[in-house]
């Protein structure tokens, strides 16, 4: 078994264990509707996690992920519904801004954490300007897309598989994906091969913005309205999802399939704790405990692997 597959085993096991726990506590969850309800909020989180993963693949960290997804949600719930052309233009411009961030971070050799932290205030500010009070509404086609009922398997699972597949093709199989990961692994090698490091980093950021935009839109499609603070949790959730899924903070080691599974696991962890009747006061702590447990498991696996 390749080390990458072995890495994937831990998140898969964690997800399976949580699912088993949920089904045991609440057997009615093991149904078409039950699964959809449990997991549909995981779809935007999975998309945001993929976005974060692309940034982490080039050894950076995006602390504006939550603010940006909130901003996109606000644009989606207002402009994209009322003036689709303008809405699309705004979203396209934000992709360009993300690519520009990648360029600036590279050229000025700035820490991405600082730049994106700064940008998070910009995004939140813009979101508040667009939607000072919670409101807006989802474009009908988006609402329809997010509530579609495919036969046999609920939307949440179909969407998750689709996201994982597309991201896997893009990041693990395509030339661009290899270049992005190579940049995280050894930037000098990329430069020496004659590939533009700036273009590669900009592409990683732009691609991340596209996935983050999809996350914001999916979120509005599910909740039908938006709020400037709707997705602030996503910053840390997306980072946790990447790590949970077998990714690393540095070195370009990422796994798109793992990241999606990580996002599903994090979403399920919340429901599981509710089913256990753990008071919301303790839930964040308990969620952290689950995270530590899974990471400890991964460490154990790494040790076993090293001993072989």
């Amino acid at each position: 078994m390749t080390p990458d597959r072995l890495r994937l085993l831990v998140p898969v096991m964690a997800l399976a264990a949580l699912l088993a726990g949920v089904f045991y506590m609440q057997p009615r969850a093991a149904s078409y509707n039950g699964l959809n309800l449990l997991l549909n909020l995981a779809v935007p989180i999975a998309l945001a996690t993929i976005a974060q993963m692309l940034i982490m693949a080039v050894n950076d960290l995006d602390l504006s992920m939550g603010a940006f997804v909130s901003f996109v949600a606000c644009v989606t719930a207002t402009y994209l519904k009322d003036a689709p052309a303008l809405g699309l233009l705004i979203l396209a411009a934000s992709v360009v801004i993300y690519a520009g961030l990648g360029v600036i971070i590279h050229l000025r050799n700035l820490p991405a954490i600082v730049v994106t932290l700064g940008m998070s205030f910009v995004w939140t500010g813009l979101a508040v300007l667009i939607l000072p009070a919670p409101g807006g509404s989802s474009p009908d086609w988006l609402r329809g897309l997010m509530t579609v009922k495919p036969p046999l398997v609920p939307m949440a699972i179909v969407a998750s598989v689709l996201i994982a597949l597309v991201a896997h093709l893009l990041v693990m199989r395509s030339t661009l994906g290899v270049r992005i990961r190579a940049l995280g692994g050894n930037a000098r090698t990329v430069a020496r091969s004659g590939t533009s490091v700036i273009a590669t980093r900009a592409a990683a950021y732009a691609l991340a913005a596209v996935f983050a935009i999809l996350a914001g839109m999916a979120l509005v499609g599910l909740t039908t309205s938006a709020d400037a603070n709707i997705a602030l949790r996503y910053t840390l959730l997306s980072i946790a999802g990447v790590i949970l899924g077998g990714g690393e903070f540095i070195g370009g080691r990422v796994s798109p399939i793992g990241a999606v599974i990580g996002a599903l696991t994090l979403t399920l962890a919340g429901s599981f704790l509710s089913f256990l009747r753990i008071s919301p006061d303790w839930q964040i702590g308990a969620q952290g405990a689950i995270l530590i447990l899974v990471l400890a498991l991964r460490l154990l696996f790494n040790r076993l692997e090293a001993r072989r």
Partner: protein
Amino acid sequence: MQDPVLQVHDIAVRFGEVTALDGVSLTIAPGECIGLVGHNGAGKSTLISVLNGSLTPQRGTVGGQPYDVARARALGVRCVFQELSLCPNLTITENTRIAHRDLPVLGWRKLARRIVRDSLDAIFPGHGIDARAQVGELSIAQRQMVEIAMAFSSPAAPPRLVILDEPTSSLDAGLAAQLLAHVKRFIAQDGAVILVSHILDEILSTATRIVVMKDARIVAERPAGEFTQASLVQAMGSSARELTARRAQITGDDVLSLSLPHGLPFHARKGEIVGLAGLGGHGQTRMLLALHEAHAPQWWPAATPAVTFVAGDRRLNGTFDLWSILKNMTAAALPDLARYGLIRSGEETAQAATWKNRIAIRTPDLQNPILSLSGGNQQKVLFARALATRAPVVLMDDPMRGVDIGTKQEVYRIIRDEADRGRTFVWYSTEMEEMGLCDRVYVFREGAIVAELVGDEISEHAILAASFKGAA
């Protein structure tokens, strides 16, 4: 005469106050292997950076037109660097994709896998490396093999000039011989090779022409046949000093001991220099790390550490790249330089200055960043860091990789001095002559100690015999 592959004329490169190249001209013709030799800091690495396009000289012309990395690759110039430069998180196939930009967009995996496998088969028959393996999983020797194979391979136009910077430093004798044989085949087919090596035998046996660099200039350039080992060393300007004679057998108390799962147990006495020999990657580094783990404090730094470590892979676990030379040098001895937990900067500067003089680190100012030094001088800083501590045992993990002869001699002398004062050295090295400096040598094979040689028993023949015993 055929058109040259690449021509550089009168180039000069300066880094701040350091002149790295000064009026260097070189013409590389097809079908020749240029042996490039010189001290550390003589300008070899800079010349290579210019040739592969990653450095633009302040003066002079390269290749006759604007020259950069893309242009160099278009001309068929490939480079294998001294420090390994693959992406450890990618598979070999994916690394090939990065190296070869001219692979097709679709179906590149299959093609990349094929060309790297073919090239590996051609250069290192029986290599046993799977192109789908992740580079991070490979040993240093295997990574070097992959990098060399990648440089000699191509999806379209074959490479015309391959620059090999210390290619054999991580390879054992058998693999090195395979590589040098391939270099000869390659130049027979009108390829050109620039071979940089500190192993003069390799240069003398493989190169057709030898270029000697000293102090940023080319000081000698003649057909290889006109050089001998002695005349080469003379041209480089370092005099091959006699090795310090070994002392009588040391009988003291053991300061270190470790029993390994297989083979003979390890022990080292006070004031002894213990060598770890054998082919590269046969468990020597692992034992050094085990020794370090067993004796270094795990939780809280001890005032007097029991062991200190000199890393061979200085990029990976040696230098603090962003720090000055001074801070790099004193990093291990800070408890001695501090009072009430605060560093006394006067003492720190004094200690660093002492060591700068003692092991002759060539820099105008210790406040310069560590990366302003040449590789050999960086390695000296790591030695100074280890020796400046009060640790009675120094573990050395092939610390002389890619260090020039002059520097080596200086360091050998210091090691001998320190040993005479009662320090114990455990020294893993892939170079035979360094084993000749040890009081006692353990030979490793397949993760176990298979032989112990004491004093006069230590010889190249005895070490080779033990390393290859039982092998086909």
